[in-house]
Structure formats: structure tokens, C-alpha cells
Amino acid sequence: MNVLVVEDEILIADYICEVLEDAGLSVFGVAESAEHALRMVDSSGPDVALVDVKLAGPMDGIEFAQAMRQRHSAPVIFVTGSGDPTTLARIESVSPFARLQKPVRPDQLVSTVLAAGQGNRA
């Protein structure tokens, strides 16, 4: 299973990749900005996208999820440190597969990605 990681904190991105690879999943790519991530999914898409809300660059993760949906049906899992009602409502509005609160538990991250990937293939 191929997982796209969109996260501007490189230490957190590295950690997420390690957790995914430890669980036998492969990383489709790591992008620090929505723009970079959109270029990555231009030709082919991941099975699952793990997306932070606050990103480098003008677009945030929620806008990225909307833009990616135009091309791919990959489920989106938000991994975010934000918890304010406005952001939560915006997240809900793009119908993600799940929202995980930072700091994320590794076992929870893996089980959510697996569930999202299976749902996508079914």
C-alpha cells in the first residue's frame, strides 16, 4: 500500500514514514506543501494520503484534499495539531476518512491507514 505524506515538519514526516515502513507499508512520497504534493499526484495517485492542515506555502491541507479529490479517490486522513471548531468544521466539510490528533499513536496511525486503504480498494 502506497501512502502519501504531506507534512511540513520534517522530523514529524520522518517519524510517520518510519512508523509506516515498520508496518510494511510503502511511502508514495513526502511533500512539505500542498503545491508540491499536487505535482506528485499529477500522473498517479497514492492509496491513502496522510495530510497535516498547516503546511508550507499558500495552500493548507484542507485545500489540498479538495484539489486532490478532483483527480484521485484516495482517502484522506488528517494528522493535525489543530483542534479549534472552525478548523474542525472545515476538515469535516471535505469528508476525510479520519482525523488523528497530534501527537499520534503509531499503532493508531497504522490501523487507520490500513482501514482507509482497505476501504479504498473494496
Partner: protein
Amino acid sequence: MRVLILDDDPDTRALVARVLKQEFGDLELVEIIDEAAFEAALQFRAPDLVVTDYDLRWTDGLSVFRTARAAFPDCPVIMFTGTGNEEVAVEAMKAGLDDYIVKSQKQLRRLGPSARAAVDRASQRRALNLAEARYRDLFRSVPVGLYRCEPDGTFAAANPALLEMLGFENERQLTGANFQQMIAPAEMGGRTLPLNDSAQQEEPWTAEVRILRRDGRELWAMNSVHVVSDQTGPVRAYEGALTDVTAQRTLLEEKSLLLEELYHRVHNNLQIIISLLSSAARQIEDPVAREHFADVSQRVQSLALVQERLYRAGNLKRIAFHGYLEDLARGIIGTDQRVTLALDLAELELSIDQAAPLGLIANELILNALKHAFAAGSRGVIRVSLRVESDGRAILEIENNGVGPGGSSAEAGLRLVRRLATQLGAEVVSSAGQDGGTRATVRFAPWSTQVS
């Protein structure tokens, strides 16, 4: 009381003086026989009453009336004359003369009471003018926007503070402007100005409203409105007061943004700490040392959970500890299929100062049970219970039905439990569980009950 008497005939002046003295008692009488004396008298001090003949050698009674009123608009003037006629009388009364009395035996009786009535009227007029002036001053200088508008919301009047608040440069710009149309409908406190309501149901109301000013800028204001109407009739007008609360709202919004930013930073930084710990652990070969790193990560998780609960609770002081315990226990057990979690949690709110260390204690005890209580491959139950005793003390119990704690990381965890228990003034007792395992009992006094 000062009275000017204008008559060329000394006998008439004396007659008038006598009548007025009978009516008013003590009087300051000024008898005037020429223009110079009249001017001097008017310049000296305001008269309380002027009684004048119509036909005077140096002028006529109407000119006297106009000159007196020009100098003192409230001053009562009575014409007492034998030479006037009906035309003069009508013209004088139209101009506002207080009374016109013909010099005759029959009419003379009216002079006293008429003078009294004129003086009383003038005094009432002065009192009313004073009250109106006070009201006008207040209306113009009060730093609250005051308005009156028609039932459809068209402005009928507004004070300078309101003009300034709504961005009008002068009163002329107010003509035709509609208050209702300046108010964003969603923020009328769930209502718009009711156009045709009758007054009997209309209590005054106050609502925070968002107003689009004339220049397009936004204004938040407290709007206190009451209905002006007859007892049962339709609404005739709305009157209200507007207080600018934009600055307060901006402050609140900034505070909320700051809090969101802080929350985000805390969680992001905790995630970075966990990432750093994980990265460091990967460099270590020794499995026991690696386990210590994993334990620290789990402790950071338990602290992050307190932060999250605190932010979600909204008051930043207390959290629902029972809900926190459930999240914590489910998180630690995670996807481990060997263990069944049994929760029995009474509702308990705790301050952040107590919840964070207690959360760490619970974290260690649950983690210990998970890691050490069960032999490899065997299944078991971890029971987490929270209850409040009749003396107000609370009891947190973590019980397993496995073989018992052990291992060096368990020792490190138990040291942490003992230190935090000291901080909390809590008592930790280890005993045999009901089903052969181990039970840890933490007894503590929630700080809210200690205070009371």
C-alpha cells in the same frame, strides 16, 4: 419680582401698581415714560412682567411688546389700554401677547389674575426650556449612540455619538437612511425589528448586532431597543441606544486565535518530541533501553491527552478525568488483542494540576499491567475503575488478572508513580486482585473538595 409699567398717565401707572401689589405683595416697580428709560430698564435686568398702554407718546404698545420679547423671549407682556381697538388686540394676541385688557371698571378686575396667570405661564415655560436644554445637552454629549426610527427602520433622529458610530458626517446624511438595512440580519439576536407588532407584547430587548457602517466598515454594538406606541396601538417608533463593543470583540477573537495557535504549537511540539525519541531509539541495539524510550513516548502521549481534554473542555482549568482515563486506557491497550479492557468510571472533574500527574500515574499502572501481568500468549483483563467515596476522597484502581508486575522498566515506572503520589498527597497500595492478579489502589482527595 420686577415689573415694568409703561403708561404716560401717572394715575394709570399708580392704578396698575396698586392692583399688582394686591396680587403679588412685595414688588419692584419700574415706571417708564420714555424710550431711554425703557432701554435702560431692559439692559439692567430681566423683568418678570411688562404692563404697557397701547398709545404712548414715544412709541406704541406693539413695539414695546416686540422689543421686550426680543430681549427676553420668556417675558410675559400684558397690554392695558383705553385707546386700542379690536384690530390691534387681534394682531397683538396673534404675536403672542399674554393678554389684552381694556381700561374699564369691568375689565380692571381681570388685571390681577391675568398678570398672575402670565407670570405662572412664563415660569413654567422657563422650567420646561431648562429641562429641554438639559435633555438636549445630554443627548448631544453622551458617549452612547441614541436614535429614534420609524417602524420601517428609517431614522427619525440620532445624536452625534450615533452619527459618528455609523459613519455619518452630519445630520443631513441621515435623511432617508434606514437602520434596519444597516444591521446584518443574522445578528439581530434571532429577530428583526417587528414592523407591525402591537406594543403590549413588546418588552425592551438588547442584542449584540453587527452593523455595516455607511463607509462599509464593520461595527459590533450592543443595541438596546424599546417600542414607542400608545397603550394598545400599533408601533409608532423604535428608540434605542447603541454601544460600540467592536474593541472588546476584537480582543476576544485575538485571545481565541492565540489559544488556537498555542494549542496547535503544543501538540506539534509534543509530536516532534515523540519523533525525536523514536529516532533516538532506533540507534539503540539493547531492547531494554529501547523499551525505556518507548515508555517515555507513551508518557508524553498521556500528557498530550490532558492538554487536548483541557482545550476541548473550554474552561482551561478543569477536565473530565473519567473521559480522559477512558481515552488513555484505550490508547495504551490499542490494538493488543490479548487484553480486554473493563472500565468502571464514575464522573469526576479535576483541576489540570491534579489531572496531569494522576494521568501519568494511571499511564504507568496500565502500561505495567499490559507489559508484565500476562505471560506470553495468554489473554487477560485490565480493569480500570474510578469512584468517589462518601468522605469525598476519590479512588483510582487498576487491576489485572495476570501473573504480576516485573522487569526493570516496571521498576522505573513504579518509582515515577511513588514520586507523583508524593506530589499529590495520594496513597498508593498494591494488593492481590480478585482474580489472582494484582491491584493498585490510588487514594486521593480531589482539590475542589479540599478547598470547600
